[in-house]
């Protein structure tokens, strides 16, 4: 059953869903790609089908039955709490994953693999942490932020699902903080401004993963059906002060006591991005051990420093040539025409 995989991607309208769909389109082994999203896709897609669904995927069981997908790539997990209000974050991460796994685990389910894009946020960031977290080492401090709590809950569901469905390949990837040419995160926003927040007295060591490596890794575990829980991060760590130096931004030290209150006015004024999970990260940093994913034959192309470099090069280019308007807008009629009209000649072996 290696030929003709049918893949469902969640969050097709989001950054990672779009990227993943594009990556899988060029894979001849993938027969059909179905993307779900709350909004229209923002990237041009050749053959992926788009279906609009609410963010908690209540209609997912029907879709899975009807389309007989054998693989689900769950990229729609919010790891950036500045993007959505807390309530929506819970709905998307926790309820969405619950419905997804319920659909994948229904009796007679065609699903043979579930890939989940998680984050190293599940380890948290505390003084008592080891310098390098292995996958089986639990976090050392209780999760206090919404994102971390919801991701822990999500991973709990996935663990239970894997236990209940031993025949299904379950792959969970925990990615370190992502930087790259296109992705926008609180860290990338801070680094592209002239002043960038730091907690005074702390200079934590951070790990980054480049956005292309994220897609490559998701593709790698999907294509080779690799089960298990893996950390993914670029090699090495670098101090926050050095990250800022590479990006040519100055550190704005924020009081180590009452940090949250001290930062609040600056966040209000729109000078900095400072979600609670970034606050602890900028104190203690985080490192994850990536030897396990290495043993499956995957290695990140970018080191942590390389990811920072890749990010700032793209920023510099944009500063010079400006932010070009998006080249693509989704139009259902046009997409339908290209995919299903008998007038269109489909060339084989594309990509």
């Amino acid at each position: 059953m290696t030929v003709g995989r049918r893949v469902l991607i969640t969050g097709l309208d989001t950054f990672w869903g779009g990227r993943m769909a594009q990556a899988l389109e060029s894979d001849p082994e993938v027969e059909m790609i179905l993307g779900m999203g709350t909004r229209e896709p923002s990237v041009p897609l050749e053959r992926a089908e788009f279906v609009r669904a609410d963010q908690t995927y209540s209609i997912l069981s029907r879709i899975v039955r009807a389309t007989q997908v054998d693989t689900i790539v769950h990229t729609f997990l919010v790891v950036d709490s500045t993007r959505v209000p807390g309530r929506a974050l819970h709905e998307i991460n926790v309820i969405g994953t619950m419905n997804l796994l319920a659909a994948a685990g229904q009796s007679g389910s065609p699903v043979r693999q579930v890939v989940v894009k998680s984050s190293t946020l599940v380890y948290g960031s505390a003084a008592t942490d080891p310098a390098w977290f292995r996958e089986e080492v639990p976090r050392t401090s209780p999760a206090r932020t919404r994102v971390e709590r919801s991701l822990l809950e999500v991973e709990g569901f996935v663990r239970d699902f894997a236990e209940d469905n031993p025949a299904t390949v379950v792959s969970v990837l925990r990615f370190a903080n992502v930087l790259g040419t296109d992705i926008v995160t609180p860290i990338s926003i801070n680094l592209s401004r002239p002043l960038c927040p730091a907690v005074a007295g702390y200079d934590p060591l951070l790990q980054f993963v480049e956005e292309d490596d994220v897609t490559r890794c998701l593709e790698h575990v999907t294509r080779h059906r690799i089960p298990g829980l893996y950390n993914v991060a670029g090699a090495g760590k670098l101090p926050w002060s050095e990250v800022a130096a590479i990006c040519g931004t100055r550190l704005l030290p924020i009081s180590p006591l009452a940090t949250h209150s001290a930062a609040a006015p600056l966040v209000r004024l729109g000078l900095i991005e400072f979600p609670p999970e970034l606050e602890s990260l900028l104190r203690y940093g985080r490192g994850v051990d990536t030897s396990r994913i290495g043993k499956t034959g995957f290695s990140c192309r970018y080191t942590s420093a390389g990811a920072v470099e890749s990010f700032i090069r793209a920023v510099r280019l944009r500063r010079s040539v400006g932010d070009a308007p998006p080249s693509y807008t989704y139009s259902q009629d046009i997409e339908q025409f290209f995919r299903h009209s008998p007038a269109v000649v489909h060339s084989t072996g594309e990509g």
Binding site: A305, V321, D323
Partner: protein
């Protein structure tokens, strides 16, 4: 195909080359920086040579390469033994030493950062294992933990309990020798007269000492050591004939080995004290 933005200048996609990026500092994955170490050596050098007049015995017993777990007795309100050992081995053998200490330091602003840059690493078993087994480095631990430096002057040179023998278990797992180091002089460089446990609890630190230095110099006493003569004796490396890499080792065996090392260090310290004629001149 992935053109999300209509770039005016097409970005070349480098397909297979690894992209290392350019580092701007020499801070390693533990937070240690050779540059910071050099600054620390320059500051601490005169103190080491002229103030404490450090003398080593048996330095050749410390392995020139490969991992080894150095264990030493710990004393002085703000222990001076850790920088002395780290500085000494680095200068004499040219090998970096990672000093493992309580997580507490990591959380203290400024201090924690400086501590990490000069080679401090939080004492987590995973950290020690990676340093010793995977990277073949020298790691220094004080098995007495904070019970060592917090003891008062009346208890000087009496080794506290060696925790739960965790250091032995780590050395067994990593398959590296334990090299005990007996230190004399640290106790007198900053002796604790009494402690303020209430205040310690209030501000959330392991202990608040009142030292003789503070009585003499006021708050400056926190940084002013007495010029006690430092003598260090490296004992024979201890190896364990157990297979490395096990998840768990017999607790009784671990405790027994730890106690053996402790007794050996205690006896050596008494021996060194017997030979010592003066606290200040050795």
């Amino acid at each position: 195909m992935r053109a999300e933005r209509a770039a005016l200048v097409p970005l070349p996609r480098m397909e297979d080359a690894a992209i290392p990026g350019h580092r701007r500092s020499d801070v390693d994955e533990w937070g240690r920086s050779d540059h910071a170490r050099e600054v620390a050596r320059r500051i601490f050098g005169p103190l080491y040579d002229k103030w404490f007049r450090v003398e080593w015995e048996g330095l050749e017993k410390i392995p020139r390469h490969g991992g080894a777990l150095l264990v030493a007795n710990h004393a002085g309100a703000i222990p001076s033994d850790a920088p002395v050992i780290m500085h000494g081995i680095e200068v004499e053998l040219g090998r970096p030493v990672y000093g493992m200490a309580d997580f507490f330091f990591r959380g203290v602003p400024w201090f924690g950062t400086v501590w990490a840059r000069v080679g401090g690493v939080p004492a987590h078993p995973d950290n020690a294992l990676r340093l010793l087994r995977d990277q073949g480095q020298l790691a220094l631990v004080f098995p007495e933990g904070t019970k060592g430096p917090s003891k008062t002057y009346a208890d000087r040179y009496r080794l506290r309990r060696f925790g739960r023998g965790g250091f032995v278990e780590i050395a067994m797992r990593a398959g590296v020798p334990v090299v005990p180091i007996a230190v004399v002089g640290a106790e007198e460089s900053m002796p604790i007269l009494f402690r303020l446990p209430g205040l310690a609890k209030l501000i959330g630190v392991p202990y608040v000492p009142v030292t003789a230095n503070m009585l003499l110099f006021g708050p400056l006493g926190l940084a002013a050591y007495f010029p006690a003569k430092f003598k260090l004796r490296v004992l024979d490396p201890v190896t364990f004939d157990v297979p490395s890499g096990q998840e768990r080792y017999s607790k009784s065996r671990v405790m027994e080995e730890a106690e053996k090392i402790r007794t050996n260090m205690q006896e050596t310290i008494y021996e060194m004290l017997r030979e010592r004629r003066s606290v200040w001149f050795g």
